[in-house]
């Protein structure tokens, strides 16, 4: 089972890298066509390229779906091999985070038919997988603090959805900042990017609240204190507050545009800090 999990991981990695490449061809190729047709004054028409680029994009999506399936398989095999949810060390967290980002990406892509988002989200997912190759992938037995199957599974599973949603919001925000005054035709319109960012936070924010609450509940059961300003606890609270600030600025003040996109990027920075902060600061949460 452990070997199967490793094979599936490699397959997911390869599929994801290829998917990113195809998406790049699709999007940058479209950009190239746009530049060519402008500079060529329309006289140089390349009708053959359009369909090829479209095919590249379609296969990009198919490969992403495959990568997602392989990653799912890898996590399932690993869970079977370990006898508990695959959420107990940095290797497993990273796979799970990547899985969440991909899942949410596929959901948003299905909703908005927007391949460009892949340019921002897939590198994040791929980066997480690349990071996973640098940490030990051994299956580690559960230390006493983690021996709570229900909370381990739910707490981390919810975290993955929240972090995945924030990764989408980050991707949309970066594209939003690149897309100045809707002048770049191969990028989605600003209004759409703004909406995607907001929708992603609408998905992620309640989930993040649930993550923190379940974490507090677990801390109360395991350590007898629901809150101890542990670095990970605190960072997750700040992350949540930042997204809370984003939502309030938007709903009450009508903040859209650059400022709220910047908040989304800051929020994702805080998300990553929450995720990896315990590597640098130790604390109660330092497993793996």
């Amino acid at each position: 089972m452990y070997e199967l999990s490793q094979y599936a991981f490699v397959a997911a990695f390869a599929a994801l890298a290829a998917a990113l490449l195809l998406y790049l061809v699709n999007v940058l190729g479209a950009r190239g066509l746009q530049v060519l047709s402008v500079s060529g004054g329309g006289s140089v028409s390349m009708p053959a390229f359009g369909p090829i680029l479209d095919t590249a994009g379609r296969y990009g999506t198919i490969l992403t779906v495959n990568a997602f399936a392989f990653l799912t398989a890898s996590l399932v095999f690993r869970a079977i091999a370990a006898g508990h949810g695959p959420f107990s060390n940095m290797y497993e967290f990273s796979l799970a985070f990547s899985w969440g980002a991909l899942g949410l990406f596929l959901y948003f892509q299905a909703q908005y038919k927007l391949r460009t988002l892949a340019l921002m989200v897939l590198p994040v997912a791929l980066g997480l997988l690349a990071y996973a190759t640098t940490v030990p992938s051994d299956i580690t037995p559960l230390v006493p603090a983690l021996q709570n199957d229900l909370l381990l599974t739910v707490h981390v599973a919810v975290a993955i959805i929240a972090y995945g949603a924030f990764a989408i919001a980050f991707g949309a925000a970066v594209l939003f900042l690149i897309q100045r005054r809707d002048s770049i035709r191969w990028l989605p319109k600003k209004v759409l990017l703004d909406e995607i960012g907001y929708k992603a936070v609408m998905v992620g924010f309640p989930m993040m609240a649930l993550v923190i609450i379940l974490g507090a509940l677990w801390a109360d059961i395991a350590w007898g204190t629901y809150w101890s300003w542990d670095p990970k606890e605190t960072a997750s609270l700040v992350t949540w507050l930042l997204y809370g600030a984003y939502l309030h600025a938007r709903v009450l003040r009508g903040w859209r545009g650059e400022r709220s996109a910047a908040l989304l990027i800051l929020g994702f920075g805080a998300t990553l800090f929450t995720y990896y902060g315990n590597l640098f600061f130790g604390g109660l949460h330092s497993y793996g």
Partner: protein, 502 residues
């Protein structure tokens, strides 16, 4: 663009409570109300919340990047000074500045609490300020809107329906219901007005969520006032210790076990404990990480463990003065050796038991031995100090001391926190509120069906803009449903006006 029932006015902070706008005739004079009004306005500012959250973010960053003084050290001036001495090697000149400004004690410091307090007041005031506006969007909705409303609505559409007015109105209602909208109508012979909405309680989610934050803070206050905790309750195997903290409870440890996986990491820590109240055994159980023993709302959590030394003391006549396991749960300041102590009250002495430093050859306390240092209880003068090897009695301070054998102690965290129930209820409200608010957003649509001179009908749809997001796709879906319900019409004129509310 404003419609009756739209909640923008309240959001902008224009709605002051009656006390602030009560003004002239009131007893306190206009000036006082001016002050109250200003303070109120100050706290209605969402910008204030943003600033406070950013300050908190910075504080947290400081609190995680800089070493923090543990609370136990903070309460002891000499330990505090020592901690600062050690910090000087790391932070040098800045140590005093950082200490003075509270940077070594961010989370328990005054200014952190002040910011949290301000944020709480900010949340409460903002929430109260929005109540009226949100209430107005939900109850009671205005069903009939004017023609101008439909002309100016951000999203609007007009259809000509080749059917009688009642049929057209019925079809519009049916298609809206099929989109899971709740429909209300007001009709007369010439026209039928329709108001349709979905998830109308969604916006109350915001009150649940904000209320829950205040409840959580209240929960921490309740816990602080009526709860207690001892995070370092230490008891050695075979011993029983009074809990104190205003209770009549004592705890005995029968046995402590630690297990490890073959690979090395710990597998299980567990303590078999007995709880006595008023000297009578009332409960017995095994406490382990993730499953504490509970008695009368007090929880006993497995927290840490360590080495203990079973000590026996007899006087010259052979009378036993002391015989128990002494937990070596602390560390000596110099040399970092495990240390514990026990009292001999009749002799007016306190004996400190010091174990060998682990993992190396300790010149002061060789492995397998215990060092005993006996001090006077009044004045604290050292009487004598000596090393004991296991099993052999030795005379120290005119008494016979024996280090009988090694043993173990368990460290429990004992907690009573009546505030946690409030916190879990609040947490549930928070999640319910946020899910209502974000997963089931409130949507409203108005329609007006009119009889035309030729007997056919005209149907207009209108949706007002929402500040947080575009309703283009939602309106598009509804428009299509209505259009196909009024089949025979040619699509209708529709328009969605451009972004104008940013």
């Amino acid at each position: 663009m404003e419609t009756p029932g739209s909640f923008s006015a309240a959001d902008r902070g224009n709605v002051l409570p009656t006390v602030a706008s009560g003004g002239a005739g009131a007893r306190g004079g206009i000036w006082e109300f001016e002050i109250v009004g200003r303070i109120w306005r100050f706290f209605t500012s969402v910008r204030l919340a943003l600033v406070l959250i950013l300050i908190l973010t910075a504080a947290v960053l400081v609190g995680t990047l800089l070493d923090q003084i543990p609370p136990s050290v903070l309460s002891d001036p000499s330990a505090h000074a020592q901690w600062l001495e050690r910090a000087k090697t790391k932070y040098g000149f800045w140590t005093d500045v950082l200490d003075f400004s509270g940077m070594f004690n961010v989370f328990h410091g005054l200014w952190f609490r002040v910011i949290i307090g301000l944020l709480t007041v900010n949340i409460i005031v903002c929430t109260l300020n929005r109540w009226k506006g949100i209430w107005a969007t939900v109850f009671p909705p205005r069903v009939r809107m004017s023609d101008t409303f439909f002309q100016h609505a951000r999203y609007n559409a007009t259809f000509a329906a080749p059917m009688t007015l009642p049929v057209a109105a019925e079809r519009v209602k049916r298609s809206l219901r099929r989109s899971r909208y709740r429909v209300r109508t007001e009709g007369n012979d010439d026209s039928v007005a329709i108001y349709a909405d979905r998830n109308r309680f969604s916006r109350f989610g915001t009150f649940l969520a904000h209320l829950s934050i205040v409840m959580i803070l209240a929960g921490t206050v309740v816990g602080g006032m009526w709860g207690f905790s001892d995070s370092e309750f230490v008891v050695a195997e075979g011993a029983t210790r009074a809990l104190g903290l205003g209770t009549n409870i004592s705890v005995g440890l029968e046995h402590f076990t630690d297990e490890y996986y073959l690979e090395g990491p710990p597998k299980d820590f567990r303590s078999e404990i007995v709880i006595y109240e008023g000297g009578k055994e009332v409960k017995r159980g095994t406490t382990r990480v993730n499953s504490p023993v509970k008695y009368k709302g007090i929880r006993f959590h497995q927290s840490f463990f360590g080495q203990a030394a079973v000590m026996e003391v007899k006087d010259a006549a052979g009378t036993e003065l002391f015989s128990a396991a002494v937990p070596l749960a602390w560390e000596t300041r110099e040399g970092s050796r495990p240390i514990g102590s026990f009292d001999l009250p009749d002799q007016g002495l306190t004996a400190y038991v010091i174990g060998p430093r682990s993992g190396e050859n300790d010149p002061l306390v060789p492995a397998g031995e215990m060092r005993v240092e006996v001090y006077r209880r009044d004045g604290g003068a050292l009487v004598t100090a000596d090393n004991l090897s296991q099993g052999t009695a030795k005379q120290v301070a005119e008494l016979d001391f024996t280090f009988a054998r090694e043993s173990r102690f368990t460290g429990l965290r004992v907690v009573k926190d009546p505030g946690t129930n409030i916190i879990w209820v609040a947490s549930a409200l928070m999640v319910i509120g946020l899910v209502m608010l974000f997963y089931f957003p409130h949507r409203r649509l108005w329609a007006l069906c009119k009889r035309r001179p030729d007997g056919s009908a005209e149907v207009r749809l209108g949706m007002t803009a929402q500040r947080d997001m575009s309703l283009e796709s939602e309106f598009g879906r509804l428009r299509q449903r209505v259009a196909s319900a009024l089949r025979g019409t040619k699509g209708g004129r529709t328009s969605a006006q451009g972004d104008d509310d940013v």
